[in-house]
Amino acid sequence: MTTPRTEQDAAQLRQTKRSRRASRVAEAASAGVKVLLVKIVLLGIVDAISVYALFVLVMKQDWVVVGLVAFVTLVVNWIYFSHQKLPAKYLAPGLIFLLIFQIFVIGYSGYIAFTNYGTGHNSTKADAVNALIVSSQERVPDSASYGLTVLEQSGEFSFLVTDPDGTISVGSATSPLRVVTDATTDATGKATGLAGYTSLRFADIVAQQQAIAALSVPVSDDPNDGSLRTPDGSSAYLYVSDLVYSAADGTMTNSSTGVVYADNGKTGSFVAPSGEELLPGWKVEVGFANFVHAFGSESIRGPLISVTLWTFAFALLSVLTTFGLGLFLAIVFNDLRMRGRNVYRVVMILPYAFPAFLSALVWAGMLNPQFGFVNQVLFGGADIPWLTNEWLAKFSIIFVNLWLGFPYMFLVCTGALQSIPTEIQEAATVDGARPWQVFRLIKLPLLLVSVAPLLISSFAFNFNNFNLIYMLTGGGPRDVTAGVNVGATDILISMVYKVAFVGASRDYGLASAFSIIIFLLVALVSIVSFKQTKALEELN
């Protein structure tokens, strides 16, 4: 209806117009200029950061990440400038972090598990070629001397060199030499400075001696041409590697011995016919090799199985012991006739309030075999290997976790016991039930209904209770027969950490393969437990 035909229609139309205007005014009044300003400023900051990020990424030619950042920025702007999408406005900030640092990294672990990522294999093939050539460089015996000035630009060193025929060029470890014409020179024709760079004085060179001595500036894009290095900071010499890389067939040849190292396409490194391997290599996808290695080789399969069993045993025993003690204490202290219950309660919460990593460290001191309080004072100077004997260490871990965990269970059980209506109990007593029967047949089942989900989350927490294990025993005593760094009290997550980050050789690929195994186990446990508790049905 475009034109009002009667008085009444016209009035109705005025009405809707007026009400529409009213709602607009209300929305504007509630949003306010301030809110709008805050919104624009915040979005402006986000956009500015992402534009900067895009700029840097385009410079680095990292197109996949460019696409991702641009996409996320567009989605964020679209959500917040739209007049609908209200739930998205509230969910987006948390969801972005969740997607990157929780969901994406899980998928990324899955990818790393299929690579040989680790010490000696943590970069691309081109980087490995450069690293190999640089590491086997030797000074060319009759190398000409290049006049050198060391330059610095935002923390990165460059070489400004004047070669014997007077050409001036500049280069750094990452960018090969290029000829420059605008350098300032001294009386002898040696270049001393370049616009945009700071020339290092002698004192600076002495202070940065090691970094400058390690610097190797490639002469050209072809690594075989060698590079310039300086022993003293004032003149540079040409260094050429023994190893010659042939880009055409992808092989590395040692020019002094004549051995050809070929890329076999599997291990991500150059291997000689004799089996000798040049390291560093580079990262390649290795298929199921990590899983085959984990399950196939006897020296890893054995520890993996025992660690998995101990992880389950530890988590289960931890839940049972803490729940048992917590429930017992909750019953003992749930008697209104008893005085001073609050004092006991506060003292018993102390272990829970004390930061857990410190508790484990303090207990590690008390259980120290030679000097610890337990052996020296409680056992009169005995030499009991609490943390170094396989089974005693396991016992100590369960015991310390009991100390750490019983207050939680005590609090939870007290709450659950108090929420059970007393009428039920009285009715049972009237019917002639004895206290034990009341507890076993009435209180315990009711209690378990409310506590069961917490027991499951406690199990899940202890399944990955890295801090306790790592701080108390460090996973030890170490299993010397194992092919990886693993001990008798290691649980799966501490094994992952040790394989990936402890010691000289880090194997990210194998560690990620172990993580994937944990994922599968946790998923299995949660499916089973959710089926049992039907927790998911309560969602509405």
Binding site: L91, P93, F97, L98, V332, V347
Partner: protein
């Protein structure tokens, strides 16, 4: 003078029965016995570390003589260690913990508000996802987090490896999850009629959220904030791989490395560090005990 109650009266005034130890013991006395044992068990390790910290220059073996010397020397040594910047660790821990917990509370509250008050497609799936995600803690993907951050630091060194912003961002990845679920339950207990009344009075969604709802749910915000702060303070795995420079590390990383280097010889200094590190967390815990217990029964693990 005592008047004997007439035998026929129904008003029977009980005379105070003489104290019977056996009866007292079987009713409440044994409970005190259990209590005493538990008090010793719970408090002893804490007293032990306190006593060790008051013994300057003490080693693990001198720590066994409890409170035989009381001196604050170790505390001043602690702040003058050449290799271990304890004050910096302390400040970092407070800073990272505070920022992480404030942001966690904010992000979680935003999400909980939308789940509780709005009806949209994917809402049920979203809630389900939060339940599932909390089964897989971030530390399982620690290798991938390390490699992701080292990739980021190639491009933006300011938020990559060895930066506290990078670490906080990783922690915020876990902001949605158990926290949101805890808050979602609490938001549902606030009657929706309050929102509707505000809406009729002309308030928009943002005003309702910031000025009405956030104030009404303050207790659960305190619980989530505290649990997140304590969790961050205790976090070792991710902090130990992200923060490399000693001046940037947190207490958990720094104290662990300090202890693993010179455990038995410099025990009193470690103990002093432990006592100071535990103080803020324990104080918060005891002050907010009531709220925390409520939060615990709703399903969070420390």
């Amino acid at each position: 003078m005592r008047i004997a109650a007439p035998e026929t009266s129904d008003l029977y005034i009980p005379t105070k029965r003489p104290f019977n130890f056996g009866r007292w013991f079987s009713r409440t006395g044994w409970r005190h016995l259990v209590g005493a044992v538990m008090v010793v068990f719970s408090a002893f390790p804490l007293l032990y570390v306190l006593s060790a910290s008051l013994h300057p220059g003490g080693t693990l073996i001198t720590a066994n003589g409890l409170f035989n010397e009381v001196d604050l020397g170790s505390y001043s040594t602690l702040f003058n260690l050449p290799q271990q910047p304890y004050a910096a660790w302390y400040g970092n821990t407070l800073l990272i913990g505070t920022i992480t917990s404030v942001c966690t509370v904010f992000l979680g509250a935003l999400a909980a508000y939308s789940f509780s008050r709005m009806r949209f497609r994917g809402r049920r799936a979203g809630l389900l996802m939060l339940v599932l995600v909390q089964m897989f803690p971030q530390l399982l993907a620690v290798v991938a987090i390390f490699l992701l951050l080292s990739g980021i630091s190639d491009i933006f060194p300011a938020i990559g490896l060895d930066t506290q912003i990078g670490l906080i961002m990783v922690y915020l990845g876990g902001a949605l999850g158990v926290n949101t679920y805890l808050m979602y339950g609490f938001f549902n207990t606030i009657p929706a009629s309050i929102d509707e009344a505000a809406k009729i009075d002309g308030a928009g969604h943002a005003r309702i959220f910031f000025t009405i709802i956030l104030r009404l749910v303050a207790p659960i915000l305190a619980v989530v904030g505290l649990l997140s702060f304590v969790g961050t303070t205790n976090e070792f795995v991710i902090a130990s791989i992200v923060l490399i420079t000693p001046e940037k590390q947190t207490l958990a990383v720094g104290l662990y490395q300090f202890v693993s280097q010179e455990f038995s010889s410099n025990y009193s200094v470690f103990a002093a560090g432990a006592v100071l590190a535990a103080l803020p967390v324990m104080a918060l815990f005891l002050f907010l005990q009531k709220y925390i217990v409520g939060g615990l029964t709703a399903g969070s693990v420390k």
